[in-house]
């Protein structure tokens, strides 16, 4: 082996170009799926033709929030839930930049839920990657807005009485231009989805179903990450372009993955520019017939 390796072109991991290698190994647990999603994101960035300097990665708090600290790009590790709001300011100040938000499920859709729906509504031009591991890992495995009904966490020791969000359906209904979901084992399709999302103008959203063996799996008697990875993958069904509302996360053979939304819509900045150039008709476009006022009886 040694003689052979001496002639190999590479001694470094291909992802090292985008890693803050002095900070590796990272803090994520053995078998955590965030690293896989992170790798996919880096692959997609590497494949994209966007200049490296133009990327900015913004994250909030939690396990996935730490991703910003490992990527060798401009990276901002902000407050819990506020990554999208911070990213909004960054994008508006520097519209030529490509802003990526990397967030966990709790960060993005519990404490940060309001920012998520409004950024999607405004079609703020950014790519949001959500690593959904069904619980709050950093604090030891508490209930998240994604925790499956009945699943055990440290704050739902008898099982969760909450019904979870369907993030993809929420993103789509709020106006996201690109919505996809893959499990961490659909690596190549996940990478393709992230690459498509990066190239998409507007609010693009990719959900990654990822194993958390330490906090989530352990409390639900699935200690091995491999088993979680397999549970998610084996119960997944690819249904591209299905109505996002029907893209269920059902662990009984109907964990729907695929690309659900891929549409074009003007972004906030497109609208802002057009409105301020006076190109948009005053509301209401049909005008009001003053002579008709009061003629129609109420009720």
């Amino acid at each position: 082996m040694s003689a052979q390796q001496a002639t190999l072109p590479q001694a470094e991991h291909p992802q090292d170009a985008l890693l803050r290698t002095e900070r590796i190994p990272h803090i994520w647990c053995a078998g955590c799926g965030i690293g896989i999603a992170f790798g996919s994101l880096m692959s997609a960035i590497t494949k994209s033709e966007i200049p490296r300097d133009d990327f900015a990665v913004v994250s909030g708090i939690g396990c996935t929030g730490r991703l910003a600290g490992y990527i060798h790009l401009d990276s901002f590790h902000t407050t819990h839930g506020r990554a999208i709001a911070f990213a909004t300011g960054l994008k508006l100040a520097r519209p030529q930049g490509k802003v990526i938000v990397a967030s966990g499920d709790g960060d993005l859709l519990a404490i940060g839920g309001n920012h998520f729906i409004h950024a999607a509504r405004r079609n703020m031009d950014m790519t949001v990657i959500c690593v959904n591991n069904f619980n709050y890992g950093m604090t030891g495995g508490q209930l998240a807005p994604s925790t499956p009904y009945g699943a055990k966490t440290t704050t739902t020791p008898q099982g969760s009485p909450d019904e979870p969000f369907n993030f993809c359906s929420l993103a789509a209904s709020c106006g996201a231009t690109y919505v996809a979901r893959w499990t961490a084992l659909h690596i190549r399709r996940l990478t393709t989805a992230i690459a498509e999302a990066l190239n998409k103008k507007g609010f693009s959203f990719v959900e990654v179903i990822a194993p958390c063996p330490t906090a989530f799996g352990r409390r639900n008697k699935i200690r091995r990450s491999l088993d979680l990875l397999k549970l998610y993958y084996d119960n997944s069904v690819v249904k591209n372009h299905i109505a996002p509302g029907e893209a269920t996360i059902d662990f009984d053979n109907n964990l729907v993955v695929g690309k659900f939304v891929d549409v074009e819509r003007p972004t906030f900045l497109d609208h802002y520019a057009a409105i301020n150039r006076g190109e948009v008709e005053a509301w209401p476009a049909t005008g009001v017939d003053a002579s008709a006022a009061g003629k129609r009886k109420a009720g």
């Binding site: 300097d53 600290g69 901002f76 709001a85 300011g89 930049g97 409004h118 802002y272 150039r277």
Partner: protein, 386 residues
Amino acid sequence: MAGQAVLTGTHFINGDEACAEGALAAGCRFFAGYPITPATEVAERMSQRLPGVGGVFIQMEDEIASMAAILGGSWGGVKSMTSTSGPGFSLMMENIGLGLCTETPCVICNVQRAGPSTGLPTLVGQGDMMQARWGSHGVYEIIAIAPSSPQEMFDFTIKAFNLSEQFRLPVLIMADEVVGHMNERVVIPEADQVQLVERSKPSEGPDTYLPFQPGPDGVAPMATSGEGYYMHITGLTHDEKGYPVMEVWAQEEMTQRLVDKIQGNLDQILDFEAIHLEDAEVAVMAYGISARSARGAVLALRQAGFKVGLLKLNVVWPFPEDYVRELSRRVKAIVVPEINLGQMVLEVERLAQGRCQVKLVPHPGGGIITPARIMEAVKASLEETS
């Protein structure tokens, strides 16, 4: 839609509008905000004016988002600002802390109303002064300034931007409802007469640049996103490189840096006016709208022959500790009118250490303190200490 950034001329506008004009004159080109009485007019003016000068206004979904967005805007290389009042100010506290920890220049204008809670939305208060100093958790220094007129709303907003750029931190404009809603003459100078300070940029390349390595003035040069520095910015305790370090030494170094850049530059930051204090037996210390009442009271008392002077705080945080300590040695009393039940007066008590009488003229909020009340308090102090 092209507009004029510096609206040179004499205007009759309210303090909120003057604040917006000050921001534009200072080069602010990004505003993220949320409507709230009595600060809404700042946002309204910015929404009207920013597109014309190549800036962006966005109404966010709440004040938390507004504060986060202006931090993002600042790292995008644009001078950024928000405005709010009590309830919104409370919501902004966590991200003000992020701005302090990540040393992000930006400006927050708090047009104070009476609290707690929803309180008196349309009526004046000065009850957020200690919140301005201590409202975000943890260890830090802050800069807060208090305008007392629409003209000062204009001037001090420029000052706030300059201080934030120079010292890399969020600067608070602690205005109040009366100053914000009062219409007065505001003189806006020629554009070339506006003195501006810009953040210092790194002179080194990406390989050696350390985003939190202070220069000789205690402040680190600041790169902007997109310049190829690939910096990492975090609200975790971090080293000069910006990388998280979960150790006591790193916490000590970082907080010391945050404190030193303010405490080590007090000569450039502190700003107060000493009026008739040379021979004063009683000093009145005031800020914001209460300084207007205090000035009236002091001038009237002087005319009546009383030896009284005014210490008007323009910068309220950091507090002019040395000056107030020295003042307490040579006056019989310091009278502090403020529209709360005693906040900045605590600083005076702390520094006077019993060397002189310290008398609060309180108001719970909802109205101003009249000059007459301040005059009464001064006279009472003179009697009590003679």
